[in-house]
Structure formats: C-alpha cells, structure tokens
C-alpha cells in the first residue's frame, strides 16, 4: 500500500555491488538467494518454457485425450489470423489510455511534487487510495457512474454531446476510461518520485534567462523527469495491455481485448495450444516494445 510509493524509484546511480568474498562466508550469499531464486525458477521461468511447449502442441488434441508435441509452429499464424483484431485493439486501447493518463498524470505528479507544500502527503495518499480497495469492486463502480440512468450520461445528453439514445457503458469509451483509471497511480508514483527531486531553482534560473514557461518545461522539467516518465509509462502500459477485466465488465464482446480471448481459450474453450500461442505472442510483443523503448530512452536500471 504505502510501500508502492517506494517501489519504482527511478534513476539515481546505484552503489557498486560489494566485491566477491573469499574464504569463510563465500557461500552465504548463495544460501540467502537459493530459496527465492529456486521459487522464481520453478514457478516463473519453468512455466514460461512449458507455455512455449504448449504453444507447439498438436491443436487436434484436447485436455481429456492429452496433447501430443508435434512442433506445430502453425499455431502461431493460425491464432493471429483468428484474433488479430483483439490483438490490435489491446495495443490501441492501452495506447490511448496511456496518452490520457499522461495528460492527467503529469500535472498531478508535478502539482504534488512542486506545488502542494504541506498537503503533499495527503495528496499522495489520495493517489494511492484507489488501491486500498478491490480492483474489481472499483471497476464495477464505473458501471454505476457510466450507467444509462446515471447523472453523467444525463448531463452529456442534455448538452448534446451524446445523442438521446447515446450511452457510455458498453462502448470503447468506457473501456478506455476504465483502463486509464485503474493504472493511473502506477504512472503517477514514479513520475512524482522524479519530479520531487527537481530543484525549483533550476526553473527560476530558466525564467531569469528569459525562457518562457513552455520552453523551461521542455528544456528543464521534462528531461529531468525522464527516468520517472519511462518507469511510469512501462508500469502503466504493461498491465493495461494484458488487462481484460475492464473490457469484460465495462465493454461488450465488440470491445474484447486479447486477454479476453486468452481467458476463454484456457478456461472456456480449453484450447491450450491456441491460448499458449496467444499468451506467448502477447509477451513477445510487450517485451519487444519495452526493449526498443528502453534502448531509445537510453536508460538502464529503470525499475
């Protein structure tokens, strides 16, 4: 909860690792690492290998008859061909949500870090507050807010932003709003951590040197907040792209993202090879984006 504020501390140069010890105590670090590393190897890394294997199973098999390993590489193009719209939609929705979240989150993080004064801690708690209660219950609350009989839809109809039968719930708007809402704190916290270290005297200096506020932002504030911005966008984008709760609860099958397809492949249709292929494609796509992004941003050790 409160710890989230410390998790994504971006930037800063980490202290160099201590030297490898000789003699007595040489084994100690390995003993300390062993249980945790073993857990992660067996329950994180090994399953990924099994997922890769399952994605190459013979698609003719089934859970009851068992699957044969036939190196069916064709599962990948088949899965993409069947579900590319949902795949594309996942990235489209989370990209739009990310832009919205940046427009909302940057001013918020900046205001808390630089303008809030003694209210800083209270505002920070307000940012984390949504995480104090259940993700699903909060998402369901949006059903009430965006309801056809609700005040918001009534208002939008009155000012003709929505037609007389226009609705918000069960539309892409609702899903994108839900994604933005649910992952916004993950963007704001690392951004705040970066902006908090920004020395306001730098902005004064810029303004003394006749920089307009916009120019000062572009040349001072933005570059100095880069580590937080990078960490925040990743912490937002990764879970948002893989999310299917918002699409399920606030949308319709027309808004389904790739997560909904994978969920049904594994739990409803019991088509493991296809579900595994889609999962693997999702991970590969996200990892590729993350690596390209980090390379471009030229930062190491972001998280």
């Amino acid at each position: 909860m409160t710890a989230l504020a410390h998790v994504p501390t971006a930037g800063g140069s980490p202290a160099p690792p201590p030297p490898v010890r000789r003699g007595r105590g040489r084994l100690l670090p390995y003993l300390l690492l062993l249980p945790g590393a073993a857990w992660l190897l067996v329950f994180f890394a090994l399953p990924l290998l099994q997922l890769a294997a399952a994605s190459l199973y013979d698609p003719a098999g089934s859970l009851s008859t068992g699957y044969a390993m036939t190196w069916a590489v064709g599962n990948y193009p088949d899965a993409l061909q069947a579900y590319w719209p949902q795949f594309l939609r996942s990235f489209l929705y989370s990209a739009i949500a990310l832009v919205l979240a940046l427009l909302m989150g940057y001013p918020l993080a900046y205001a808390i870090a630089q303008k809030a004064g003694r209210w800083k801690n209270l505002l920070l708690v307000a940012v984390v507050a949504p995480m104090f209660t259940s993700f699903l219950v909060r998402t369901l609350a949006w059903k009430t807010i965006l309801s056809d009989n609700g005040a918001l839809v009534g208002l939008l109809r009155d000012v003709h932003l929505l037609g007389p039968d226009g609705r918000l719930l069960a539309t892409p708007v609702a899903v994108v709003l839900g994604l933005t809402y649910n992952f916004l704190p993950f963007l704001v916290l690392p951004l705040y951590a970066s902006l908090e270290r920004l020395d306001p005297r730098l902005l004064e200096a810029a303004s003394d040197l006749y920089a307009s506020p916009l120019r000062a932002f572009g040349r001072v504030t933005l570059p100095l907040s880069m580590p937080g911005l990078i960490a925040g966008t990743l912490l937002f984008f990764i879970p948002a792209t893989g999310d299917y709760i918002n699409a399920e609860l606030l949308g319709t099958p027309n808004e389904y993202m790739i997560g909904n397809v994978i969920d049904s492949a594994f739990l409803v249709r019991l088509d493991y090879p296809q579900g595994a292929a889609l999962s693997f494609l999702l991970m590969a796509a996200i990892l590729a984006i993350v690596f390209v992004y980090l390379r471009k941003a030229g930062t190491e050790e972001v998280l």
Binding site: M1, V7, P35, A37, F44, L108, A126, V137, Y181, M283
Partner: protein, 276 residues
C-alpha cells in the same frame, strides 16, 4: 495581466485536483452503494437508502467464505514471500557473488511480465505436471509474483542504510549476530513491514493470476467476478468500503507514528548533551 499570472500559477493545481476527483470518485460510489437497496439483482443504480447491508454483511455466506479464504491465502503468501524476498535483498545489497545480473533479471522479469502470461504459463505447468489446482496452487502463484516486489522494497531500505552504525557496533565488540539483531534488523524493519503490507495487498486483490490457477477455490476477487455475471449482492460494496477504511487507518497510524518518531528524534538532537 494579474489574472493571467494567477491562472498560470494555479492551473496545474486545478488540473491536479480534477484528476484526484477522477481517481477518488469510484471509491465514493462504492461507499454510497454499500448503503443501497438495489431494485434488482442486476441493477447497478442507486435505489433506496438502507443500513441492512452493513448490519448483515454476511447475508450471502459464499461471499464471506471467499473473503476469509483470500485472507488465509494472503497471510501465507505474505509470510513466505517476505522471508524469501528479504533474504534475497540482503544478498543483493550486502554480498558480492557471481551471477548477479542473472539474479537481477530473474527478479525484474516477473514485474515486467503481464499477469496474464504468468497466470496461463503456471496453469500450463500445473496441468502438464498433473497437479490439481486449488488453495495451494493459488498460494504458490501469489508467492511467485510477490517476491520481486518484496526484494525491491527491502532493497531500497537496505541500500539507504548507514553502514557506519553497524561498524560502530562491531567496534564496540558486538558480535556479528548481536549487530544484526540489535542494529541491522530494527533499521531494516520498516522496509520489511512495508514489503509485507504490499505483498498482502497484492495477494488479496489479485484476480488474473488466481483465475487461471484456482481450480474450484473461490477468492474474494473471483467471487466478485462470478457475481458480476449473476448479479452483485450489495454487501460486496460493504467489503470494498471496509477494506478502504482499514487501509486508510493503517496509513494514518503509520504516518502519526512517523511524525512522533521524528519529533522525538528532533528533541534528542535539540537537547544539549548531558541532559536527559
């Protein structure tokens, strides 16, 4: 001119407050709905004020069972992941060893992998190994995704610690164990507690990974998910509001304690030497 100046100064704060409104509105709605008597099972609209939901939060027994189960899973997963993660954090900050980048990668990757992929891959493993899914497979999964967050949180605290305090203790003939027990552990403890709270909240609220590895076991988020199709009992909002209240109290208490500790520290510094 003055107006422009004033606006330029304040607009950021104005936007910030609007965004905070967007972030807190659903919580207000959840709290409001906890006092609602819905007109039908599938209705999400506010209908009529009632205290019934708070008077009988366990009117739907399934829901309370699910809450208890989530707490049990959360507690076990918290204890195990906090121990494993803290040990790893100590190794990473305090010791040199070969294979550091591999270990760092192993810790970083679970945080960068979509939950969906972790959930499905673990499901694939359990099915291939013939492990029946239920309570313990959920615990295993939760420990797996909590460990990394524990490592990062404890590591941050450890890295920010003043090593000279431990050196001083050793200079004063404290044994390695005494130094650890009396100096290191108390100083790292806030980090460990923060990590444990984080782990519990991650575990308690997890839906995606749990959904793939639960078998027929129902946690609170899974109950809510299932109920969303059949009709949500209003008591769900009571649980949501109560969770929020408890978390808020915890944060309030810890910040009060922090303030008192800071004041005490200030008093010590301000007191001239020799006087109590």
């Amino acid at each position: 001119m003055k107006v422009r100046r004033w606006l330029a100064d304040r607009w950021v704060m104005g936007v910030a407050l609007l965004v905070l409104g967007y972030l807190t509105l659903p919580i207000a709605v959840v709290a409001g709905l906890s006092f609602n008597r819905p007109s039908s099972r599938l209705s999400y609209d506010f209908n009529e004020f009632t205290l019934d939901n708070w008077a009988r939060p366990c009117a739907t027994a399934d829901m309370c069972d699910a809450v208890v189960r989530s707490m049990e899973i959360g507690l076990i997963a918290t204890v195990v992941s906090t121990v494993l993660g803290t040990l790893m954090a100590f190794a990473l900050v305090r010791h040199g060893f070969r294979g550091r980048s591999g270990i760092n990668g192993l810790i970083f990757l679970p945080m960068a992998t979509p939950e969906l992929v972790m959930g499905t891959s673990l499901l694939a493993l359990f099915v291939a190994a013939g492990v029946p899914q239920g309570f313990w497979t959920i615990v295993i999964a939760h420990v797996m995704f909590c460990v990394s967050f524990v490592v990062v949180t404890v590591k941050a605290r450890l890295a920010g610690m003043d090593r000279r305090l431990e050196e001083a203790a050793m200079d004063l003939y404290a044994s390695e164990w005494q130094t650890f027990r009396r100096i290191t552990l108390p100083l790292v403890l806030p980090g460990i507690v923060a990590a444990a709270l984080l782990a519990f909240s991650l575990s308690f609220d997890d839906f995606i990974i749990t959904n793939f590895n639960a078998g027929t076991t129902v946690t609170f988020p899974m109950y809510v998910w299932g109920a969303a199709q059949r009709g949500i009992p209003p008591q769900v909002n009571v649980i949501g509001t109560a969770m929020f209240g408890i978390a808020l109290l915890l944060v309030g208490a810890s910040s009060l304690r922090g303030r008192r500790a800071r004041r005490a520290a200030l008093a010590v510094i301000a007191t001239p030497a020799g006087k109590p």
